[in-house]
Amino acid sequence: MSKIIYLFHEGIRNLWRHKLTAVTAIGSVFFSLLIIGTFILVHQNSHQLIDYIRSKYKIEVFFENHVTNEDAQLIVDKIKELDGVQSIALITKDDAIKIYQEQFNENLIEILGYNPLPNSAVINIEKHGNTEVDVGPLITDLEKIPNIDEVVYEGTLIRRVEYFYNITVRIISYIAIGLLVITVIVISNTIKLSIYAKQDLIQNLKSIGATKRFIRTPFIIEGILEGIMGAILAIAVLFIAIRSGNLYFANIISFKIDFDMVGIIWLFAIAIFIGLIGSYRGIRTLLK
């Protein structure tokens, strides 16, 4: 037991004894995890962002000017039955004039002496998981309904955004995997260099009869601690960035970046993995 306490204590003290190499290793872990953490964030928030983009899949239907509220309601009921319609909201002429006044701060009735805006409706389209929505048939059906003046759909632009977004997420995932591999190599070499600086200690321990495990353990504890410290710093910076980002974007779009527990656990797991593999690889070379 006293040996285990000693080895753990040595691991912690090694951090202090070799401050410069520890700072280098922690710094490398920090920067790498910051990049990997950003990718995890992108991955975690991609579905939320896709849902946000899809919420913009709406079709606006403008009725002919002579259509009364009652007739408009009948048409709305008919549209509800069509395939691909999730929900529909009627916007009466009175609602439309109110919306116009709120948006442009002008009273059209006072200016023109009458309400020129038609009855209209906003249709939310049914979405199926990650598959792209094909609204072509629905638009054709809508255009066939009598008393509909215009069908407006901006889905082409949204679909293009979604397409490029999916490609970007895929490319970022490949880059993240590549970066992870490079990071493990860089970190293990940094830790290896720091272990090279402690060769006198290793030779000393060998000459007094220390087993390989006894020599190795404090270095591995040191490596893991460096990984954890790098992870704590990276997570702190990511949280500050997320908070600032959310505050900034709150006024622009209704999208909120989330960083949940799974992401944090992943970052810690990667940090411990990097520290463990890095220090083990480093010490193994010197103990051969």
């Binding site: 006293s2 040996k3 000693y6 004894r17 030779q203 000393n204 321990l205 009869g209 220390a210 087993t211």
Partner: protein, 217 residues
């Protein structure tokens, strides 16, 4: 205790030790003398099995160079106290921590470590320097600390590789006297030296080695 039976070890450059026969019994004090490059350090390294002979067999206590498994080498080294010319103290640890290191390796508890280290520091006259760092000590004090570290686990054998090499004659003599005191308690000592003048008056047995071949013994 230590036995070399027709041992040969050759470095890639052709130097080494050749056909060495050697026997050191418990409680004996031997000097191994010879010029630099004669093979003294090679003999020491072969004893603590830092390397293995190309031919012949070495026996140290119950360990044989022919039969020992790699995992048993630390066990062998725990029975040997190593003292070297360069002191080999760790500069980022104080004297107490340096001397205590071998006891941590064998898993002693805190109280035992404190008691044994302090007792030994008294014996080598360094009790008031326990919490000083190696760079704050003189060469002689560092060597005494190194001896204390070699002795801390009560080894049966002390291997002292040129322990007086970096010291002035008066300090060197003090170190030899300290090793003699340790030897009188029953610990076998093998000390290498290239300084024949220093040891010839001391009356101990010596083995002379030249170009890797034992001349006298």
């Amino acid at each position: 205790m230590i036995g070399f039976n027709n041992v040969t070890y050759t470095y890639p450059n052709g130097m080494g030790v050749f056909n060495v026969h050697l026997r050191i019994l418990p409680g004996e004090f031997y000097f191994l003398i010879g010029p630099s490059g004669a093979g003294k350090t090679t003999i020491i390294r072969l004893i603590y099995m830092d390397m293995f002979p190309d031919r012949g067999e070495i026996n140290v206590n119950r360990f044989s160079s022919k039969k020992i498994r790699k995992s048993k080498i630390p066990q062998l080294r725990r029975e040997i106290g190593m003292i070297s010319q360069n002191f080999n103290l760790l500069n980022d640890r104080n004297l107490f921590e340096n001397v205590a290191l071998p006891l941590h390796v064998i898993g002693c508890d805190k109280k035992e470590i404190r008691d044994r280290v302090m007792a030994l520091l008294v014996e080598v006259g360094l009790e008031d320097k326990a919490y000083e760092y190696p760079r704050e000590l003189s060469g002689g004090e560092q060597q005494r600390a190194c001896i204390a570290r070699g002795l801390i686990k009560d080894p049966a054998i002390i291997l002292a590789d040129e322990p007086t090499g970096n010291l002035d004659p008066s300090t060197a003599l003090q170190i030899i006297r300290l090793l003699e005191r340790i030897n009188r308690k029953g610990t076998a000592v093998l000390m290498t030296s290239h300084n024949y003048r220093l040891i010839k008056e001391l009356g101990h047995r010596f083995i002379e080695i030249k170009n890797g071949i034992i001349q006298t013994g």
